[in-house]
């Protein structure tokens, strides 16, 4: 069978399995296994355990569960609540201020955590009920948390940037810094849209009832300072860890290990979480999320191996490389491809499968691999808030099951458009990505 036909068959089989509700990791894994056995014989089944184990057993990949553990330690402490209260007090009085402080809190939390669903969950647990209580439209409340949460993988640290760095052999430290400015830019765009949306909905003009605010103001200022003091150590630890990484002092795995250890320690000391209960919660949350992600990565690695083994990868890459088109047309085509892939697959799966194919093409067309990493990440962030597979939408549904899915989707859509706008801006001003890494790392 020629590579194109087998490629179409493999991808169709994957979509059918996913459509009937097979968990993504098992759908990827079983399609690849069957394709490998048909193509290469039963020997692939016999040695499948070995292939699977070694697809994730590497020193670079262990950084992912440890960064997730670090994020879980921060998240299970009341950091999210503290951050959120501080920002609310500063911004609560301006129109749409609460929604804007939610996005701000998401950005700061994104700098403490490497994952998008974790960011959405940590801030959303406080933010969504509060916004709804104060009369914000459901769509805005859900949308700004879903979108703000996606910043988790753009603002460093980032689990997906680690996977990209491994897949393309680029510097993970540099990838992290490259995401910082675009992350802030997106946060700004999200805030801008939130203002507009609140104005349009007329729902912005319901801040804290004045009397309540006046009565609480003194206590709030004090509480605010205390909250800040408690969040500060986490910010210091995480930025210290990241600076060690950027300075090249530590590898991502060392940084993640130290970060997990220190944040766990801080959660115990600062938030007095030394009982067994909270620590069990941290470990359980970290285990659940990292197992889910690592299993998808392993399955995606096997899928990529199957595609390469059947010469599908090489055929597709050759066909794209032979397209005699303008480099920006090429970039547009790649973006559409990533966007569509992101609709259906979680970010890590798309990166594992697509990055090795796209990297030579990107370099050939003279695009910066770090700039491309950011563009790719934003595409995949869009996928996090679009059906059918939108991890952040799932988080929102978990926090506020009574918000109609239609409202969540309609509320999130404009934020997805903000991200498209962000990609366009990056195309015109690539310096937004490259300036900071060049400044810090030369």
């Amino acid at each position: 069978m020629d590579p194109v036909t087998s490629g179409i068959l493999v991808v169709s089989a994957l979509f059918v399995l996913m459509a009937i509700g097979t968990p993504i990791a098992f759908a990827l894994g079983s399609v690849s296994l069957v394709a490998l056995v048909l193509d290469q014989g039963m020997v692939e089944l016999t040695y499948f355990g070995e292939t699977f184990f070694h697809s994730i057993a590497s020193f670079a990949f262990v950084a992912i569960p440890m960064f997730i553990l670090m994020g879980a330690a921060v998240a299970s402490s009341p950091t999210g609540r503290d951050l959120y209260r501080s920002l609310d007090l500063w911004m609560g009085k301006m129109p749409g201020g609460l929604a804007i402080s939610n996005i701000g809190a998401c950005s700061i939390f994104a700098a403490l955590s490497g994952s998008s669903p974790a960011t959405a969950a940590a801030i959303g647990k406080m933010g969504i009920p509060e916004m709804r209580k104060r009369g914000y439209p459901d769509g805005v409340a859900a949308g700004c948390i879903a979108a703000g949460g996606t910043l988790g993988i753009l603002i460093p640290p980032s689990v997906t940037m680690i996977v990209y760095g491994i897949a393309t052999e680029t510097s993970i430290g540099r990838l992290f810094i490259a995401g910082a400015m675009p992350g802030l830019m997106l946060a700004g765009l999200f805030m801008l849209w939130t203002l507009i949306a609140c104005k349009m909905a007329g729902g912005y003009n319901t801040p804290n009832p004045v009397a309540e605010a006046a009565a609480n103001i003194k206590q709030n200022v004090e509480g605010n300072m205390r909250a800040l003091v408690r969040v500060l150590p986490f910010l210091i630890v995480v930025s210290g860890i990241l600076f060690a990484l950027y300075g090249g002092v530590a590898t991502p795995s060392e940084a993640a290990g130290a970060g997990a250890f220190l944040c766990l320690g801080l959660a115990i000391v600062v938030y007095r979480m030394w009982q067994v209960g909270p620590i069990k919660t941290i470990m359980r949350d970290a285990l659940r999320e990292s197992v889910m992600i690592m299993l998808i990565i392993a399955a995606a690695e096997i899928f990529a191996f199957a595609l390469s083994s059947m010469f599908i990868t090489q055929t597709v890459a050759g066909a794209i490389a032979d397209l005699e088109v303008n480099r920006w047309v090429l970039m547009a085509v790649i973006n559409v491809f990533l966007l569509v892939a992101g609709f259906f697959l979680p970010p890590v799966a798309v990166i594992v499968m697509a990055a090795p194919i796209l990297m030579p093409i990107i370099l050939e067309a003279n695009f910066d691999p770090y700039w491309f990493a950011v563009v790719l990440t934003i595409n995949l962030e869009i996928g996090l808030i679009t059906p059918p597979v939108g991890l952040n939408l799932f988080i929102i549904k978990g926090i506020a099951p009574d918000i109609d899915l239609r409202d969540v989707l309609l509320g999130s859509l404009p934020y997805a458009l903000c991200m498209v706008l962000g990609i366009v801006l990056l195309c015109f001003f690539p310096g937004i990505v490259t300036w900071l890494p060049d400044l810090i790392m030369g």
């Binding site: 399995l17 996913m18 459509a19 009937i20 509700g21 097979t22 968990p23 993504i24 990791a25 098992f26 759908a27 894994g29 079983s30 296994l33 089944l45 016999t46 040695y47 499948f48 355990g49 070995e50 699977f52 184990f53 994730i56 057993a57 590497s58 020193f59 990949f61 262990v62 569960p65 440890m66 553990l69 530590a250 795995s253 060392e254 290990g257 130290a258 997990a260 250890f261 470990m283 359980r284 970290a286 285990l287 659940r288 999320e289 990292s290 197992v291 889910m292 690592m294 299993l295 998808i296 259906f344 979680p346 059906p387 059918p388 597979v389 939108g390 991890l391 939408l393 799932f394 549904k397």
Partner: protein, 173 residues
């Protein structure tokens, strides 16, 4: 978009109920071991950082030890994540269709997942037994025997397959 549905603790009686409860407990135990391995992996990295950067001494075993303990944690944790509905699945289409067709779709999906887990478990035992019988090591500076790193993998993937059966039975009852 949804995570695969999570179920309440089995309440059914008889052999099936006992099997489900037994698997749930085994998966929980595996998760505790996995969480411990994850924490130990973090400590090993911190030990390496301390030895290498602060004391300036040789570091030989830590990297490899961390790789194995954390990768093992990930595979030992899979049955628990399956039990608690943490493996992301897209059930939008079956949910929209509903009725008997929904049940059939989800059953096929579960059987595909189960088939995969059995294959993975078979492959893992094959690898473990081969590594044990032939006394393979990792061929690195530390050079430990390989099989102890593979034992949790074989156990984890087997529990995953058995837990999948429990989930299918739970869905039926």
């Amino acid at each position: 978009m949804a995570e695969s549905s999570s179920h309440p603790v089995a309440s059914s009686h008889g052999v099936i109920g006992a099997y489900i409860r037994c698997m749930d407990n085994l998966s929980r135990i595996a998760a505790v071991v996995a969480g411990t391995l994850l924490a130990i992996g973090v400590l090993a990295i911190c030990h390496m950082i301390f030895m290498r950067y602060i004391l300036g001494e040789s570091t030989v075993w830590q990297t490899e030890f961390t790789i194995f303990s954390i990768t093992d944690a990930m595979l030992l944790g899979t049955p628990y994540v399956l039990m608690t509905g943490g493996h992301v699945a897209v059930t939008a289409l079956p949910d929209v269709i509903g009725g008997v067709i929904r049940k059939i779709m989800l059953l096929i999906a579960s059987l595909v997942g189960l088939g995969f887990c059995i294959a993975l478990s078979y492959g893992s035992w094959h690898y473990l037994i081969e590594a044990y019988n032939l006394g393979w090591t990792t061929g690195t500076v530390w050079n430990p025997l390989l099989w102890p790193a593979l034992l949790p993998v074989a156990i984890g993937t087997s529990l995953l397959a058995l837990q999948y059966i429990a989930e299918i039975l739970r869905g039926e009852s």
